[in-house]
Amino acid sequence: MDTEFRSTPRRLRRILPATLTACACLLFHISCSTGNDGASGTGYRGWMMPRPQAKVDFTLTDTEGEPFEFRARTDGYVTLLFFGYTYCPDVCPIHMANIGAVLDDFPLEVRSQIKVVFVTTDPERDSPERLRLWLDNFDASFIGLRGDRDEVNEIQIALGLPASVIEETEGGEYLVGHSARVLAFTKDNLAHVAYPFGTRQADWAHDLPKLVDERWE
């Protein structure tokens, strides 16, 4: 009896820190969880930009040969913007295929609030027809844009992305180095989140509906 009585505070002393830690963890978890709910700007699986990137007001030519005023035509939509080329072996087609696959599963009300814009960094080889054929493979609604190389590079730089690099190879072909990042503009016409190569379908499925509802309050 006596020993048991005396041992209790010692046990408490041992248990207390652990209990406090557990409580702190729980509180932290709760505050984080509530933060994740709704339109609070957290809980995204993409990369949060240190400073949100504003849309650049550019006009390029779409696959129908018509001018496409990027800022005006994407206003009010969640807009995924990506720069790449159709000869790209894996980075570009995997990004596009993953986004396309996820959009297929969304209800129309979500789907209809998202636009995907692909700008070619290889306008010499990516004809409008080729670009259309390539994009249709992933989603017929994807918008394909072309412009001359300098113009596209200027747009990339204005968006805080590295300009594309062209390198000749031995066989007279050339490789196009380009940014592997998809910029996600929300309805405020700012990109708060970017998606690196390696973003999985589950990540898109998680983030895109959140971006549609996002108000950044």
Partner: protein, 170 residues
């Protein structure tokens, strides 16, 4: 135990003998070459003329090996490429050979290494299968069967070098 110095010397001699014996054994045992090629996937050529191939090579032997070349009747050209990450951009760089260390594994995956199949000689559609020959420095030629998959299946079937290990491709 009464003479620890004697025991120490004795032990040293014994250890030396064991080392020599082991060295003799390993010299006499032929080096074992044992490679296994698995998960050979080719992405559906969306615009027809080229496709990327990925696979894994497991080296169960005790000799470092090297992948030197890949060939297939499905394409006139097959080049080994590395995706290089540099200042926020990615680009493909041809490489001559890929190391397959003894007891290790070589994984070709998006964002890391791939084999680019150029000038395809046949139409490739998802679920198609065709043979590819992998040439290794020591193991020689190995034939494996490739499966054509859709790009949206890549993350599940092949994974990606970029997501699991951003430093994979130097």
């Amino acid at each position: 135990m009464k003479n620890p110095r004697y025991t120490l010397q004795h032990g040293a001699v014994f250890a030396l003998a064991v080392t020599i014996a082991l060295a003799c054994i390993s010299r006499e045992t032929p080096e074992r070459i044992d490679l296994e090629v698995s998960r050979v996937f080719v992405t559906e050529p969306v615009t027809g003329e080229r496709a990327a191939m990925y696979f894994s090579v497991t080296n169960n032997g005790d000799v470092d090996d090297e992948l030197l070349a890949v060939s297939t009747t499905a394409a006139r050209v097959a080049e080994i490429h590395r995706t290089e990450h540099e200042g926020g951009t990615m680009k493909m760089v041809p490489v001559d050979a890929l190391n397959v260390p003894a007891g290790g594994r070589l994984d070709l995956a998006p964002g890391g290494y791939h084999v680019m199949l150029l000038e395809l000689t046949q139409n490739l559609f998802p679920d198609d299968r065709f043979d590819v020959t992998l040439r290794f420095r020591h193991a020689g030629d190995m034939v494996a069967r490739a499966l054509v998959i859709r790009y949206e299946e890549v993350e599940e079937l092949v994974g990606g070098a970029a997501q699991s290990d951003p430093h994979n491709s130097r």
